[in-house]
């Protein structure tokens, strides 16, 4: 029993990483209605920027804020320059664009900062949290920040005019335009916010998985899985999905024989698919009724 609770706790700690990423994924899905495959790489690039700033002597929180601003601007810039011209292109072409962006960012980061693994500082310290051996203060801080972000986003989308306009622009663009919402800029804003949230995720994850150009590969897959499991339309679902995936993964590794590190991901994915077969829109997603 103790093994079980320990594994669940450890799962929640890793789940916090996935939850962070899933939240960023859902954010951009709300704004542009697609999954952005380059999201992880954008977060990785932002994390490298903050690392570089700290190397130049800036304190952590200053670097944190500067990176947030940089990512927000960068996200908007990418949308304006690369994806706005593709608005009318078929969806699959846009997905190819995400893959191209992935390849460009990954390769550039590798050239600028090379592929060696770097240490990344944590603002919370890494001592055991409340005497528990399994969750460090950093992981607790990570969970805390994820929850704060979630609450902030909830209020933004539910109670501000801009939040409402963004939701309208993503859900029914034509009607949104008719009531005077600038849908094109709402999409750009969505990209900016998603990039900023992604950069927070990146900076929180980096002390755990270490900083290198490929650090996001695995995390992003779990983030997608978590977002889809929780339902792509629900930020709350995404965060819960992240924690669930973390716990699943740990329990599968502990209790199913012959599961090495490499089989963890397929098993986690298989479980998610079984959930999806029963609830096709995810645990908390709403079924979208289509007009014929």
């Amino acid at each position: 029993m103790e093994l079980f609770t320990n594994q669940v706790l450890a799962g929640i700690a890793t789940g916090a990483i996935y939850a962070c990423m899933a939240l960023a994924v859902v954010m951009i899905y709300q704004a542009i209605d697609h999954l952005n495959f380059a999201q992880g790489e954008m977060a990785m690039f932002s994390t490298f920027i903050s690392w570089q700033l700290m190397q130049w002597g800036l304190p952590y929180w200053v670097a944190f804020v500067v990176t947030l601003a940089f990512s927000f601007a960068g996200g908007i810039l990418i949308e304006r320059v690369l994806f706005k011209p593709l608005t009318k292109a078929p969806i699959l072409t846009q997905v190819a664009g995400f893959i191209a962006l992935f390849s460009i960012i990954n390769s550039c980061a590798g050239l600028i900062w090379d592929f060696t693994i770097k240490q990344y500082p944590t603002p919370f310290g890494s001592s055991p949290f409340l005497g528990s051996q399994l969750i460090s203060t950093h992981q607790a801080g990570m969970i805390g920040i994820t929850v704060l972000l979630l609450i902030g986003l909830y209020f933004f989308f539910q109670y501000t005019r801009v939040g409402l306009a963004m939701r309208a622009a993503a859900a029914v663009p034509e009607s949104a335009r008719l009531v005077g919402i600038n849908t094109s800029w709402m999409i750009a804003l969505g990209w900016g916010m998603a990039a900023a949230i992604g950069s927070i995720a990146g900076m929180l994850i980096a002390p755990v998985v270490f900083l290198e150009p490929n650090m996001m590969g695995g995390v992003l897959i779990y983030g997608f899985a978590a977002a889809v499991l929780g339902g792509l339309t629900s930020p709350f679902g995404a965060v819960l999905g992240g924690f669930l995936v973390g716990v699943f993964e740990n329990l599968a590794g502990t209790y199913i024989p012959h599961v090495g590190n490499e089989m963890k991901l397929p098993i986690a994915l298989a479980l998610i698919i079984s959930v999806l077969v029963i609830k096709p829109a995810g645990l908390f997603g709403r079924n979208i009724v289509k007009r014929v």
Binding site: L86, A89, P90, L92, R167, H258, L276, P280, I288, K290
Partner: protein, 338 residues
């Protein structure tokens, strides 16, 4: 969150492609086939090998095109079917001494069954969710092939070495050239089969489902059967391509069939034009040659160069090679009138 989202009406994810626009005219076809027949006689063995790979990847992209462009279902899992086909051929050839030509139909049938079965749970999913499910299949496949349980047949992490077949009947041609013509014959056969499939009753059913699933079922199309059938056919063709790939490369290993292969096939389909069958081979050329070109331009930044080239293509022709072909056809039409 609000009531608006519930009545959101969405355009279909895959553009409707008219049946007639799916193939080339007979004149163009003749020229292309003639080129494919004659060119290998005048080039080096390595280029012949690359042309063989082009045909093989072309088949795999074609299979994906039938699934996505034909029936409107996404798949990031076709690398798994490719792997199953490759391993079926390799195992039959090396462990059971079956003739290479006979292993291909077996690979096709096994993959058809596998795809058909996978299509069953995939029925309930669409769009992003289907993409995730097939993605899971693609990431799981290399790990499954590495499992100790199958090692007796698959050779585990090390994979299997496949012997290259000689030209039969003492024909005076190199192994590479024989394999090329062998692949070409199979490619042409499968291409004709695919074109006819899409023109048949089943093909029309696929397209009706792609354009509007609810309307299709209202017209009496058995949506479940045809969706799984599309998965099966796509997997079967991919399996044959995988088998040919194993023979051409002379080697199968789990790590050749990762998600990277699935993404390449997807890019090939987009670059060639979703739903345009001849475009599959243009797309295959893109995924084979462009990474090499990118590496040639800059070693350190090859990924970035590849990304930029891909952006260029989708900026200039968002509908892929199909768009180029259509523009060319219109120009020709104008010339003829004058």
């Amino acid at each position: 969150m609000s009531a608006i989202e519930e009545i959101a009406s969405q355009a279909p994810a895959v553009d409707a492609v008219p049946k007639r626009a799916m193939t080339l005219s007979s004149g163009t076809t003749f020229v292309v086939v003639l080129l494919l027949l004659v060119v290998p006689l005048f080039v080096k063995n390595f280029i012949i090998f690359q042309m063989t790979m082009l045909l093989i990847y072309g088949l795999a992209v074609l299979a994906l095109n039938i699934l996505t462009g034909g029936s409107g279902q996404f798949s990031l899992g076709n690398s798994a079917f490719y792997a199953v086909g490759a391993y079926t051929s390799a195992i039959l050839m090396e462990q059971y001494n079956v003739n290479y030509a006979l292993t291909l139909p077996v690979a096709g049938v096994i993959c058809f069954g596998f795809g058909f079965l996978f299509g069953q749970p995939a029925l309930r999913l669409s769009g992003v969710y289907l993409a995730l499910a097939t993605f899971a299949l693609a990431t799981a496949m290399p790990q499954i092939l590495k499992l100790g349980f199958f090692e007796h047949w698959t050779g585990g992490v090390q994979g299997l070495v496949v012997t290259k077949p000689d030209a039969p009947f003492g024909l005076p041609m190199s192994q590479d050239m024989w394999l090329y013509y062998f692949t070409l014959a199979i490619t042409i056969a499968i291409y004709i089969f695919s074109v006819n499939l899409l023109r048949s009753r089943s093909g029309r059913a696929f397209m009706a489902i792609r354009d509007n699933e609810i309307a299709a079922s209202a017209m009496g199309i058995d949506v479940a059967t045809y969706k799984t059938l599309a998965f099966g056919v796509s997997a079967g063709i991919t399996g044959v391509a995988g088998g040919l790939g194993a023979i051409a490369v002379q080697f199968v290993a789990p790590d050749s069939y990762t998600i990277v292969l699935a993404i390449s096939l997807f890019l090939g389909m987009v670059v060639g034009g979703v739903g345009w069958l001849p475009g599959s081979f243009v797309g295959a050329a893109f995924i084979i040659f462009v990474p090499n070109i990118a590496e040639g331009i800059s070693k350190g930044l090859s990924g970035a160069v590849f990304g930029v080239l891909l952006f260029l293509v989708i900026f200039l022709v968002p509908h892929g090679a199909r768009q180029v072909a259509m523009v060319a056809q219109q120009l020709l039409g104008k010339l003829r009138k004058n």
